[in-house]
């Protein structure tokens, strides 16, 4: 999977490394900004009220 992505990135090894880094950062950003805030309320730490009012 990662080998396939690496082979399909343009440029020489340095450019590929740079693009990979940007891609990784983008994925982490999307996770922290959108995916985790959505998933976190599914965990029980939010239940602090009585009868979920």
């Amino acid at each position: 999977m990662y080998g396939w992505i690496w082979r399909h990135l343009p440029g020489n090894a340095w450019v590929k490394a740079l693009i990979s880094l940007v891609l990784i950062l983008a994925v982490v950003y999307v996770l922290f900004q959108y995916v985790f805030p959505w998933a976190e309320p599914l965990l029980p730490f939010n239940d602090v009220t009585v009868d979920n009012q």
Partner: protein, 230 residues
């Protein structure tokens, strides 16, 4: 065959990394965000109060009555007070917002809409996170009878004294935020305060409760109440 094995192992590593990142998010990042959001809320309140835009001070003469003028209804999701609990730390202060929605509780403590307003006859009830989102009520079990819970709405300081708790109950026990909570030991109507959070620390099977009564009030012009002076 080798390709399949490699892809599966890469996927496993990816999932593992995402899980680790999620733990970092829950344990650390929500706290960072909450600290900044709660700070913003407090700044906003203090700005509002500095402009005097909230409400007139009323005609109540200083310290004479325990009954401040009745405030207008709180706006859902908006901060209206700051809470101080010296037992949880001398610098511990959190904004109190109207409502107990998930989104509201990320920004501060939540006032159960439908319960009494601050300082009024009835039961002013507030919920807060035990863990995550800045861990506001992390040290909840350390609260003891006699501890002060101080709130201000910009015009008045309200000092509540804890009478009972921490009391462990189940999530369906809505009675604890009744105007006269049955298990609190109070026998007649009064100006009470209830704090609720989750128990155990990382779970949701129970709730921890403390009850307090309004001990004294003083206008903000009179300076900080004794409970907040070092």
């Amino acid at each position: 065959m080798r390709l399949v094995v490699r892809t599966v192992s890469e996927l496993c590593i990816t999932v593992g990394t995402v899980i680790v990142l999620f733990v970092v998010y829950v344990l650390f990042w929500t706290g960072v965000q909450a600290d900044s959001v709660m700070g913003d809320q407090i700044d906003r309140l203090q700005e509002q109060w500095a402009q005097g835009g909230v409400r007139p001070t009323g005609t109540a003469d200083p310290g004479a009555s325990v009954a401040p003028p009745k405030p207008p209804p709180y706006e859902n999701g908006k901060p209206f007070a700051i809470m101080y609990i010296p037992r949880l730390g001398f610098t511990w202060n959190k904004p109190v917002l109207e409502g107990t929605d998930t989104g509201t509780l990320k920004k501060g403590l939540g006032h159960y809409s439908g319960t009494a307003q601050l300082g009024q006859q009835g039961n002013f009830s507030v919920a807060g996170h035990r863990r995550t989102y800045g861990d506001p009520f992390k040290d909840f079990p350390r609260l003891r009878p006699g501890d002060a819970v101080v709130l201000t709405d910009g015009t008045t300081w309200f000092t509540y004294r804890i009478d009972k708790g921490p009391y462990k109950t189940v999530p369906t026990d809505v009675e604890v935020i009744d105007p006269l909570p049955r298990k609190s030991g109070y026998t007649r109507a009064g100006r009470y305060l209830t704090l609720t959070t989750c128990e155990p620390e990382w779970g949701h099977s129970h709730r921890l409760i403390v009850w307090a009564h309004l001990d004294s009030t003083q206008p903000v012009e009179a300076g900080k109440p004794a409970a907040l002076r070092r």
